[in-house]
């Protein structure tokens, strides 16, 4: 119970901080919307190949906007030494990590909620034509991204080149999450048999589970110095 209370306290604080500062979601949303809009100009109306790549464009906009937000999210912790104060609290340190990861998940999900309808209009695709299963893809993909992104933002935030360091560390590791998410989403965009998406979803869920367990096990060692 104490573990969940800690996560809840951090999420409440982060959401309150964001409601007041509007630094993270607004900048992520602007970046994400701009990416989707700019890339929409490269396809001619009725283009045959459009549907094969737009899933990748959507996830690319989430990943790069997310990286922007992750940097800002961790900056609010290191400014004024707040992250040190969190580590001094008499709580399981992994609960601090998961609190930050849940906050980041919420912020990225907010961006997705606004970007996806715009994406569907601009690219003339209905990703929910076969049901609500793509919601599960977005959920699992965003969860994996938030877990790994939070971990690497904690590692990179104390380096001088944090804006460069985060994508350098994160992007190679996150390939399985992005790949699974894009492939699963493409099945719904291209109108293939939704059953084909299950193997990608299983892979996505497996990576999410592995990364969650690994972070849970190593977080104490990462922050101890």
């Amino acid at each position: 119970m104490k573990y969940l209370n800690t996560i809840s306290a951090i999420v409440r604080k982060d959401v309150l901080h964001e409601l007041k500062s509007r630094e993270i979601v607004v900048s992520m949303l602007l970046f994400s919307v701009l990416t989707v809009v700019v890339f929409s100009f490269i396809f001619e109306p009725g283009s045959q190949f459009k549907n094969e790549v737009v899933g990748g464009i959507l996830w690319m906009s989430f990943v790069f906007a997310g990286i922007l937000g992750l940097n800002k999210s961790m900056m609010s912790e290191v400014t004024g030494g707040n992250f040190s104060a969190l580590l001094l609290a008499p709580v399981d340190r992994s609960a601090i990590f998961f609190g930050k990861a849940v906050s980041n998940f919420i912020f990225i999900a907010m961006v997705e909620i606004f970007t996806i309808p715009l994406f569907m209009v601009l690219y003339n695709v209905n990703i929910f034509a076969y049901g609500a299963m793509p919601v599960v893809i977005f959920f699992l993909g965003t969860y994996g991204f938030a877990i790994l992104g939070t971990l690497f933002s904690i590692i990179s935030v104390n380096t001088r080149t944090r804006e460069v360091m985060l994508p350098l560390l994160l992007l190679p590791i996150i390939v399985p999450i992005i790949l699974s998410s894009v492939q699963a989403l493409n099945i719904y965009i291209l109108g293939h048999d939704p059953a084909d998406a299950s193997k990608w979803l299983q892979l996505l869920a497996a990576f999410d589970a592995i990364f969650t367990v690994v972070v849970f096990a190593v977080f104490d060692f990462i922050v101890e110095d």
Binding site: R12, K13, L16, G81, L88, E224
Partner: protein, 236 residues
């Protein structure tokens, strides 16, 4: 005989190739006020980080009431209250929101009542709904004191707490520290201010080059003698 609260046994701390603390052995007794002096980069802040479990030693052992650090539960950290030259506060939140957050993290009971008592003590109750972003350095440090004392810690650790404080904030800090000392709290303060550090302490320590080069009860040394010892220690 005083009860030993924390004991360092041949503690070393390395950050990469930097040897921040070398073979430090020292005991902190319950109810003591220890002022730690030393030049910049001497290892004072590392000593405090090790003391409040923020970082583990590279070698050696730190015992808390005879229990090694690695055998302690996370809840043990509630026995420390840390006041640093950094405020540990969220600038976009109000004083009240900051304190409520930390109170939840420390599982403090009767949160609002406790916050009210402490904010009145540091003369910030009227400004409780103001964003921390608009606070002066002195106000930030007073709020930081409130944050550190929310959970009524047994050991108060201060890292250069007087840095940048005006006279008023400095007086409030001194008054609170004396109250805590009177309540038999153990206080460890790193400071560059010889007068404030000497006046407040019951024991004096000097760290230089990562080594503890002086550790004596204040009653055994006058301020002039200590000044001489300090100059001798740091110029060696």
């Amino acid at each position: 005989m005083s009860e030993t609260l924390v004991e360092f046994k041949k503690v070393n701390k390395k950050y990469g190739h930097i040897h921040a603390l070398r073979d430090v052995s020292v005991s902190l007794n319950k109810g003591e006020f220890v002022s730690v002096f030393g030049p910049n980069g001497a290892g004072k802040s590392t000593f405090l980080k090790l003391l409040c479990t923020m970082t583990p030693p590279t070698s050696g052992q730190i015992l808390y009431e005879n229990t090694p650090l690695n055998k302690l539960q996370d809840s043990f950290r509630s026995r420390f209250g840390v006041i640093s030259h950094l405020p540990f506060l969220y600038s976009e939140l109000t004083a009240l929101e900051n304190l409520r957050f930390y109170a939840r993290m420390y599982d403090v009971q009767n949160i609002d009542e406790r916050i009210k008592v402490l904010l009145e003590k540091v003369e910030l109750y009227k400004r409780r709904n103001d964003k921390v972003r608009g606070y002066s350095r002195g106000m930030l440090q007073r709020l930081s004191i409130t944050r550190a004392l929310l959970h009524d810690p047994e050991i108060v650790v201060l890292d250069e707490p007087y840095t940048g404080l005006d006279t008023h904030a400095s007086d409030i800090l001194t008054r609170i520290l004396m109250e805590l000392f009177g309540e038999q709290k153990t206080i460890v303060m790193v400071t560059h201010n010889m007068k404030q550090g000497y006046d407040a302490a019951s024991r004096l320590a000097i760290i230089k080059g990562g080594q503890l080069v002086f550790n004596e009860e204040k009653a055994k040394i006058s301020v002039q003698e200590f000044d001489e010892r300090y100059i001798e220690a740091v110029s060696r």
